[in-house]
């Protein structure tokens, strides 16, 4: 039935192979052995979602559980969605074609605030009411990922949130729900059972409260036994936690033709705008022999030419050079997705270049030393130049530079600094080569978005006028063909801030925006700021209240979510930022007392080798 309907649709959609499943290394269990179905739902298009490592790990763990079938599902592109609605084909798991409504759990990952409307749309496409309170029975809709660190804006749509790392808790959730099915627990019984587990937030058992003056005072449990704050989960033994031996390999070309291993988790560099750098602490590494063995196994089982060594700062891995050498020795390419701005990182990039002509990516983030100190991007002007010199002397022709504008305390002078830097790098290239014929400097200019659980969570965004003035200033100054300036859409950044910093009151606006047709908001061709403005207005949400600066004593909508990093630390860091004072990486220098190590009773991580 499913395939019959699909066969009529697929000839009429773009990239039909997104929707067929049948990829290499998929796990399909005989139907009679399956007693529990878990859908791993990625609220964006197939090519983006298939490379997401978190789902590779969960897919493997779930499918190793007897009786459990994990399947993947992605957001259908609008052409496919239209055809599915036309022919009443409900959204389905790619492995067996089972409609999502027949699953026991649907687990979304919240990678990006601008994917929230896609969650509602995917549920609706499956015939499931997007509003949690109107749902009955199974499936339960759960969500995890960085977005869950402020769950409130999507709390109306999600039954339970996983706060923190999912590797261990996912099987606990499956067991709880599976037992609930056996013992005849109803939906609320199952959710109550989940609510008592560490690291699970069930919004229906928590309510927002205001004081007598109507001011928000926080989110509180409605039952006294439930924890006041939900502490994030971390894997007990990250270094030795078993890793997948194979991952699903897409049939449609994805962003990168590579498999990846996570070499370390967490980052203590302490960039003050960076949410990942705060919420994934503490820093932990996997041992070299484990990574070499798993890397080679994955390369073989995926038939991939390239291994990605993934982490928030790959050059910080203690034995990075030995690791690269060990993989290359077996005849494979290596890629390092996130490098620091220094000459050591350029050396590493040089090691892994393997004849490719791709550009070198550096992210100084701010154009002046003053502002780099404010954001704690511990990169000095001379680091940038030594890195660029090393790159140019080694024959790199294309430099990709990432910057942010609209940062706290930023002035136009700081933004001029970005242009000055780009021009100075052009001069440096000319000094080395005598010309700039083959040089290209691409500048990716994004707009600062304040994110929960970061030192900049209190900071405001700049106005539309200020952002556009700064964007224009850069475009004007860097008109030469040597430079390519790419700027983000300010409206998207504003919406991102609203959705990132919102409370439960945002649910109504998200719902209305979806009803008006918003989806794929991160895709400029689908983003509809006009519809979003209507939805926010109808929901009575004043965007300015979320994009502006917040007082330091404000009660934050995510106060009940405990990521281990203390609010005191974040506040201290914010104050240091405003004073232009930096804080060094604790894995190389003194402890900065962020609170994570005592929170999880782990010993502070110290680098074995310092580079």
């Amino acid at each position: 039935m499913h395939w019959h309907k699909l066969e009529r649709i697929l000839p009429h959609v773009q990239k039909p192979a997104r929707y067929i499943g049948n990829e290499l290394n998929t796990v399909i269990k005989p139907a009679e052995q399956v007693e529990f179905r878990f859908a791993l739902a990625f609220p964006d298009v197939y090519e983006i979602g298939t490379s997401y490592m978190g789902f590779h790990i969960l897919y493997d763990l779930l499918n190793k559980m007897p009786g459990v079938q994990a399947e993947r599902v992605f957001a259908p592109w609008p052409d496919m969605e239209a055809k599915m609605r036309e022919s009443a084909l409900p959204l389905y798991g790619l492995e067996t074609g089972t409609p999502l409504g027949d699953f026991d759990i649907i687990g979304f990952t919240l990678q990006h605030e601008l994917s929230y409307t896609n969650i509602l749309n995917m549920l609706d496409l499956a015939g499931i009411d997007p509003l949690a309170e109107r749902r009955e029975g199974l499936p339960l809709v759960i969500a995890g990922g960085p977005g869950a660190m402020n769950p409130e804006p999507v709390a109306d749509f999600i039954d339970a949130f996983v706060i923190g790392e999912g590797e261990e808790v996912v099987s606990e959730i499956v067991e709880a729900v599976r037992n609930g099915k056996v013992t005849g627990l109803d939906r609320s019984g199952m959710l109550r059972a989940l609510a008592s587990m560490t690291g699970i937030y069930v919004p229906r058992y928590y309510e927002r409260r205001n004081d007598a003056a109507g001011r928000f005072i926080g989110v509180f449990p409605v039952e006294p036994e439930l924890p006041q704050r939900i502490r994030k989960r971390i894997v007990r033994d990250f270094a030795d936690f078993p890793l997948p031996e194979k991952v699903v390999v897409p049939l449609v070309e994805s962003v990168h033709d590579r498999v990846s291993v996570e070499i370390c988790r967490g980052c203590a560099r302490g960039c003050r705008f960076c949410q990942a750098g705060m919420i994934y602490r503490p820093v932990r590494e996997r041992p070299l022999p484990v990574l070499v063995q798993q890397g080679l196994t994955l390369l073989r089982s995926a038939g991939s030419p390239e291994l990605g060594l993934s982490s928030l700062s790959s050059a910080d891995y203690s034995e990075i050079e030995d690791l690269i050498a060990a993989i290359q020795q077996e005849g494979h390419n290596v890629s390092l997705p996130s490098l620091r701005v220094d000459s050591y990182s350029v050396q590493l990039a040089e090691l892994t270049r393997a004849g490719k002509k791709t550009g070198l990516t550096l992210a100084p983030e701010a154009g002046s030393q003053r502002l780099r100190d404010v954001i704690n991007k511990n990169v000095r002007e001379e680091d940038i130049f030594t890195a660029a010199r090393a790159a140019f002397e080694n024959g790199w022709q294309t430099l990709k530079l990432y910057f942010m504008i609209g940062l706290p305390t930023e002035t136009e002078q700081d933004v001029q600094g970005i242009a000055d830097l780009a021009v100075a790098l052009e001069d440096l290239y000319r000094e080395i080569h005598g010309h700039t014929r083959r040089l290209k400097i691409n500048l990716g200019i994004s707009t600062f978005v304040p994110k929960p659980h970061t030192p900049f969570q209190w900071a405001g965004q700049m106005s539309k006028e200020e952002i556009e003035t700064r964007q224009n200033l850069l475009r004007e100054r860097l008109r030469s063909k040597k430079f390519k300036v790419q700027t983000g859409n300010w409206q998207e950044s504003r919406l991102e801030a609203v959705l990132a910093r919102g409370g439960r009151e945002l649910g109504r606006a998200i719902y209305l925006a979806w009803r008006k047709g918003c989806k794929f908001d991160a895709w400029s061709e689908h983003f509809r700021p006009d519809l979003w403005a209507q939805a926010l207005a109808e929901a009575g949400v004043d965007s300015e209240a979320y994009t502006g600066p917040w007082p330091l004593d404000a009660v934050l909508p995510w106060e009940h979510i405990d990521v281990g990093v203390s609010k005191d630390f974040l506040l201290r860091e914010y104050r240091r930022a405003l004073a232009g004072r930096t804080t060094p990486d604790c894995t190389f220098a003194a402890c900065s007392a962020c609170g994570v190590c005592p929170a999880f009773a782990v010993a502070p991580w110290q680098r074995r080798k310092s580079k």
Binding site: P16, L24, E253, L299, R300, G303, S304
Partner: protein, 207 residues
């Protein structure tokens, strides 16, 4: 070692584009740990060639590709190794070793045969009968045979200097009332009678 492989691309696999399918082949060889010789040049790629690209959405029970293995190996083992990894709908049926002097596979293809499954029985419009084997219009020169047997329409379409006619063009022209028609490529033909050996899956075209 140069080898011609005969394989199928059916079921869900028919929706995989030619480019993605080429990538899949490279992957399969790596998964099976069979080294393929690389092309020369600035951006070396595993040396393989496909007889005739199959448009996305068409199935085939008879595709051909050639590959240059880095080292000689037993062909049964080659088939066994590769078939361990092929996704459902893709089977590698036969491997024929050919000498290095063998013509390029792409240059050998003179005609492609398709079977079109119509949803209902039809009588072939006389226009098609008339046009065979007349070559007076742009598309007619490609139609070598067009026989309708009940619901099954056999088309033999010429491939002239690697240009050919898509069978769905003829379906739209003569049976515009059907919006869903299954098309399967069933054969690859050559006029060249001097090749030795004749790879399995390549048929001789007798005019």
């Amino acid at each position: 070692m140069r080898v011609v492989l005969q394989y199928t691309k059916q079921g869900a696999m028919k929706y995989v584009s030619h480019l993605d399918f080429q990538r899949l082949w490279r992957r399969l060889f790596r998964m099976a740990d069979i080294a393929v010789a690389n092309t020369q040049g600035f951006n070396p790629l595993p040396r393989m060639r496909f007889a005739a690209p199959l448009p996305t959405g068409f199935a085939s029970c008879n595709e051909l590709m050639e590959v240059f293995l880095a080292a000689a190996m037993d062909l049964d083992e080659l088939l066994g190794q590769l078939n361990r990894f092929t996704p459902q709908g893709m089977d590698i049926l036969a491997a024929t070793p050919v000498p290095d002097s063998f013509p390029k596979l792409t240059a050998l293809v003179d005609a492609l045969e398709y079977s079109v499954e119509l949803p209902e029985c039809r009588v072939l419009p006389s226009a098609v009968e008339d046009c065979v084997p007349d070559g007076s219009t742009a598309w007619q020169q490609f139609v070598l045979a067009a026989e309708l047997h009940g619901r099954r329409w056999r088309l033999l379409l010429a491939s002239i200097e690697q240009k050919t006619l898509r069978p769905d063009v003829l379906v739209r022209q003569f049976f515009p009332e059907f919006d869903h028609v299954a098309i399967i490529r069933t054969g690859i033909f050559t006029r060249n009678r001097n090749i030795k050996p004749v790879p399995q899956g390549l048929s001789l075209l007798i005019d």
